[in-house]
Subunit: 494 residues, 4 copies
């Protein structure tokens, strides 16, 4: 629950779709891209963009961008502008607001010596600063602070500079991948092809789904997107370092750029903990199930003498059900959500301040009055969300409220695409967290350990080790836990 | 779930607040009214309105109205307009859209011979047509089709017509109550007083809460509103037929207008089934608990040979947990909700049509693949919401999907404030519902019986029969089940 | 020019249109009403409204209202809502802003014992206060402070109260006219008829035009509206006190309610001076020509030893051309207008303040550098508009700037529909106006006399005395000059 | 008049302002930039943008951009974002609509090896296509089709590529000017300096004004902008090919890049005819006066046997007054404008179509009924604006309507920044224009000759030949008449 309030968020979602012949039609391509962005809305609410290509020679690209949620950014009539597109990519952006920021909205379309390309990416280049200097030294002016523009200019200035009918974009992408090891999942449109690219460390997710029984191949960011349309089926993940070509002729793996010898993959563990939709599949396992395992592990690490187990809806619910199963305590609901409460404009004074959070929830008194409650949350970031909830439960009759957090505290910043406060701002480093239970008013507080989290995540992969969907190349398991441990997958340049 | 999609809805929410001395301050009165309307948002999304009174002599009334959700209708700076109000009432409206409808937005403020009054109500006058004719025969022109305007004109034209310093509004309200038996819960502001009025049949809910430890008395529509601010505490329900005066001097019961001898009360049973927030308290029992009992009753009436029980989130969850407890089957989640999916603007063709509903949900495959699922929903209205969900579950591996509905089918129109289709349109009366399981693709379908629903509702009241909060006057129990049975609490005039 | 800045304005514009058979079609009726309101936009920018009637039995009325200019208030698709209207009326309102004021937006539609009527009016009832008390004593609550609602309730409560197929609306209108002598021009829609009503003093204008050669009869407020569509032709004015019925069968004069014996008519002289469009025709003469005569008269009353005559564009231009013709001085343009300057949001400090007005104009230096300029303006209200213009001209090289004002100073408030400041606020009564030339920085300042204005207005009527369009009933000439002289046409009740 | 309707327009307006010490303050810099853009609004209504710089080392740039008119694009609170700017530039853009076009909105800010620069320009590079290819061959991707981006990349990639504290921007600008001869007026911000640059042919205007008596130096596009604030005074034009540095230390001419030997300057003659505000000063003469001379010349070339001369307001008025003076015929107004008529949303059918234009005007019948009218317009582009005006005048009583056009027909496209239809689309090339009088319903039609226009323009310059404001370098006179004659100032590359 606190994650939702914390401002911690992933920077983007990307989605692509190719039509193969009669279905989907061109207008449906635009509709599927839009629905895909709605499904990725949780990964970015600042702006949304779609670029389609006719796939002809020369191709005609059409761009649609807008600020806000997909349904705000686009209107039904806008989709008609895209109706000549045989393929396309879309992007939702998470960032600060302001209409002047529309220029940062992806996908970027740039005209190069070899024709136009469209680029959308998720992630953050760890060596962006050095790469910007390099590009500018070549005489290029950069009009935004966006990594996407940097990626497009890096792709554009790769030699040789000749006007070619068939420029070697794969060589250019491989060159880009040698210049920057992580973190990006990238979609590039050129004429009638989408290149789907995942960085060598596999830090950001990227999966491919199959639409219907035909040979169309949407690329998408997370499995749920493919599957959430009941007619779209999970096909496979793009492997770390892999470049996949998707066109009306199907999916073709073109190349795998390796990591430095000895380096494990570094898939972001917070995709499992918070960012991904619970129905997503990564590394052969469903995110919901991983979260349930985290709850079970938490029950083992931090057992509680209590009467009922409950959740701060909705993100902590799988962990709460896991905790209940492991502990044998009954699972009940103690809070009901007011689905209409958004960010209200009221700036209350001290007396009204706690209403600001508590108004989100009503207490289901009968379910816990006179009882000792274990309340599972997915995180405690600032403590100001959970605190009024505990007060609400106690005033409504809970005799004890034990907080059990289904993830370890975040202690270090992320430089790979997740918006986390700087080290100094991180609440887990603050004095008041030394006596966190006292600070938030809980009877007790316990966190899941880093080891517990890793075992909950990797346990499911090992048990599915022979799953043919996990290729031998990625059989070595590894996850990025930098924000919990300070151990970054690559050395950071400053 | 289907209720949410069905267009069935209650017509309004009302909320009031009085300041007593220093707290809440005048600006806080406006803020509390706004927060109260947000909490009642689920009862009406078309428009919102607030009227405050200075409570001075003469009073100054200030009105704020807008179309859409509360957060859209009002802006932070608008609240400043209300900042001289010592008391006030607010209203959320459920109806058709269109800015020209702003004139129908409540509360209504009218200038009368005795000064200005402000009126907000929830419900629908069963004899509105006859009352309109009566008022017009007196020479009054009616500018809207709203019952609220009718109520204000009825209050205004009650003799005697003299300019009085202290007009007898209570006599006028009692006169109104004799002219129309049901259905209304009414708030009337005059100078420094709010009159809270519930019709003799008690068809619509109306409760009073206490804000903090001071002597302030917000009136509100449903208990949850009082309690959902953790600092607001449930005080009591306004009894059927009761007129309560609320001012800075406290709460005072002024009169109880009786029903015709022999008539039981007729509180709308659908408040329990669907309209009210689950944390609301009516007749001494929490709505969530009633819904759980409905689930238990359903398990008794319609047991199933299956592996897991689940819910169509979120409204059916208490019933699903009840069903699981009663049946002994494990409760799991099978669907995850995409919280950003609203009414999208895409008008899909046949091939895309089912995405329209299914995109709301992702399937949590691991929890049910290879299993027989009992899926609890709160209703089946048109069948077009549940049908793609069943398809989604089956394609994701459920071997059987048994639908159990935690309420009886709606078969008759409501004339007391609930927006239900006409009898001919009602789906439960349609031929395709004869083989409903085949129609929606389920393995089997069973409904809760009317008797089962009534016993689930009334069982909880009887067990609390000695609760001092239930006065002897209302100890006789009765509920309106007209939409299920066609038995209306009063004879309808046509 | 200063009028435009002064906040002095007429309160409304009204317009009506009836289709007769094939033309205009129903959709065209809506379009013509909209175009008519655009043409009346200068009479009210706060809100706009249209009501159409099918003209069937029973009629269906459709209402469209919105805040702001016509083009803001309505959208193209909104007009489709009106497309079943065979006749209708529209209204533009001049007043304070705020969306909550939409309820004051005309036309008013009310349901009465005899069916629905729609009413739009321009003007202000001089005895509104007494009439409101009378209506409320009858038991009617008034929901707005608008005279229009008052008029509709007065029409509704006129006895006899019987349900009649053909209620006598004309008797009710005549009854209304005996209750209130002035000031109103009124359009009433009932089923398939528009009643066009002008008060007995003829204080507000109301004219009828003919659309094409067919038998359709739009009613409109001022002649220009009829004529400004080249296909609409001036037909005649509605006479003071006259009730005219307009339907698809044509125009029919039903009655003329007389003034008290001895009272002259009191047509607002400021319609000539400022409010009306220059192409309007009143009392047989074109407004532009009257304004030119005012300029000529001003040249006679206030001759100037100067080199060129010019105008503060655009409203003073006819008077400036008249002054030039009479004086023999050459007419030149000295100011050019920036057509994009609206009310900018910049709130300048003292140093930037004068830009606020001056930015509207550029100086056409070559036309006056080194010359003595006579600058004609239509009024001086506060002096803060003309002052920076004089400064601009002097800095750009004018050796002298003589201000000649083509109307007398306003010294008294209006109680008949014109928004004029109270007597205390009126600038002409302020000390700084004693040495007005010094105050605004002009070389000299002279006003047109009241007698000069009256002769300029009435001279044109007398010379056309035999025009058959001026019926004998209105041959007696009289104008309301209350704001200049304090002589009101009727005794004011307080 | 027809120009206004024709879609012919200049592509942009640019404006700059530097603060020198205490005045203007930083907030006032933002306000003056905004007011400057309002004054340039007629040169572009699609979007508006402002960039300010703190002028510190390193500088902080702040950008504000929005779609639509300045007052729509910016809000009062937006200006606060700019309040730390000591200098800045602004831009109004004329182009197609669509929020996705915000990326084309100027000024462009780019980060280069030498720090950030902000660029705004007016005009169109004649060899843009070749320059784009050159830039892309260097490996630069171009994200827009805008010449401004091209200019910034050209400035960025000029060698040498070293990180310098004081990069030689003037050398880079001179290099740019050798690569592209025309057409551009350019403002470049770097740290605390604005460079104002006009192309060697002087095709687009650029002038400097002085704000108050202090040493502040706003740069602006056209003289009127400087002067229209009465406190801003005309200082001088930027000469063709000149680079001027403007800072808080004053104005300094840095360099003049010459034209190829023998080439005359080529200032756009349509600035005089239509684009510039009438109070602008170019080449030492006021635009209004030039337009008056065009009217006089037209009276010599195309005399008419008529009774009165009039104008289609407002752009043709100076020419009409000139025609009246030269011909001795009296000048009268025949049309009054409805100031509220904008682009209405009504799409009339054939019967209503002519209202679409005619609703803009009312006929001042008394001034011309029974008379022969000479009507001066500034152009005839499609004939569909003037045609209903002629009909209106004739129906209102004009016996003859002679159209005299104060400019020659446009026959060729412009490639230097003016949006003119392609040659095939140009109406003057169409068959119906062979009998233009018959086509539009006029008694006769005559145009000003190209020679007449050139002599009207250049006559004023010669007579002021010794004006010290015209330096010897630009004493040679020359204007671009390409759209009238097809003779372009430089050879066009395709």
């Amino acid at each position: 629950m606190e994650f939702e309030e914390s401002g911690i968020g992933e920077e983007c979602g990307v989605f692509g779709c190719v039509s193969a012949g009669e279905w989907p039609t061109q207008l449906e391509v635009a509709q599927i891209l839009t629905l895909g962005l709605v499904a990725l809305q949780h990964r970015g609410q600042e702006s949304a963009g779609i670029v389609t290509s006719t796939g002809t020679n020369p191709p005609i690209y059409t761009t649609l961008k807008g600020m806000g949620l997909v349904n705000t950014a686009f209107k039904a009539e806008d989709l008609l502008k895209l109706r000549n597109g045989n393929l396309g990519i879309g992007h939702t952006r998470y960032s600060t607001t302001g209409i002047s920021e529309l220029q940062n909205c992806q996908p970027f379309v740039v005209d190069t010596l070899h024709g136009k390309i469209a680029v959308a990416h998720n992630g953050e280049l760890v060596n962006a600063s050095a790469l910007r200097k390099k590009v500018m030294r070549h005489g290029v002016g950069l009009s935004t602070s966006s990594d996407s523009e940097l990626i497009t200019q890096l792709l554009a200035l790769t030699p040789p500079m000749e006007e070619l009918d068939t420029p070697d974009w794969v060589a250019r992408i491989k060159n880009l991948m040698t210049e920057t090891p992580t973190s990006y999942s990238l979609l590039v449109v050129y004429k009638d092809v989408i290149y789907a690219v995942r960085d060598p460390y596999g830090n950001r997710p990227l999966s491919i789904g199959r639409l219907g029984k035909s040979c169309m191949w949407p690329v998408c960011f997370v499995y749920c997107v493919c599957f959430y349309f009941s007619i779209i089926r999970y096909y496979r993940e793009v492997q770390p370092g892999e470049i996949v070509q998707i066109s009306k002729n199907g999916v073709k793996s073109l190349s795998v750029v390796p990591r430095p010898e000895g380096d494990p993959p570094a898939f972001c563990i917070f995709e499992y903990v918070y960012f991904a939709r619970p129905d997503s599949i990564f590394e052969g396992q469903m995110v919901y199930t991983v979260r349930q395992r985290c709850g079970r592990q938490l029950a083992i690490e931090a057992p509680t003498d209590a009467d009922v187990v409950s959740t701060v809806p909705e993100s902590a619910t799988p962990a709460a059900l896991g905790y209940a199963q492991q502990s044998g305590l009954p699972y009940v609901e103690v809070l009901c959500k007011n689905r209409y409460v958004g960010r209200t404009f009221i700036q209350p004074n001290t007396r009204l301040r706690q209403l600001g959070v508590a108004k989100k929830f009503g207490a289901l008194t009968d379910n816990f009055a006179g009882k000792r409650v274990v309340l599972i949350d997915d995180s405690i970031v600032r403590g100001n969300t959970i605190s009024p909830i505990i007060k609400l439960l106690k005033e409504a009759g809970a005799t004890e409220v034990h907080i059990r957090v289904a993830s370890p505290p975040i202690r270090f910043p992320c430089y790979m695409g997740i918006n986390i406060p700087t080290k100094e701002e991180l609440i887990a480093n603050r004095p008041e967290f030394e006596d966190i239970a006292g600070y938030i008013g809980a009877t007790s507080v316990r966190y899941l350990s880093v080891e517990g989290l890793v075992s909950a995540v990797q346990g499911g992969i090992e048990s599915r080790g022979k799953d043919e969907r996990i290729s031998t190349k990625t059989a070595r398991i590894g996850h990025c836990t930098a924000c919990l441990t300070g151990k970054y997958p690559v050395e950071l340049e400053w």
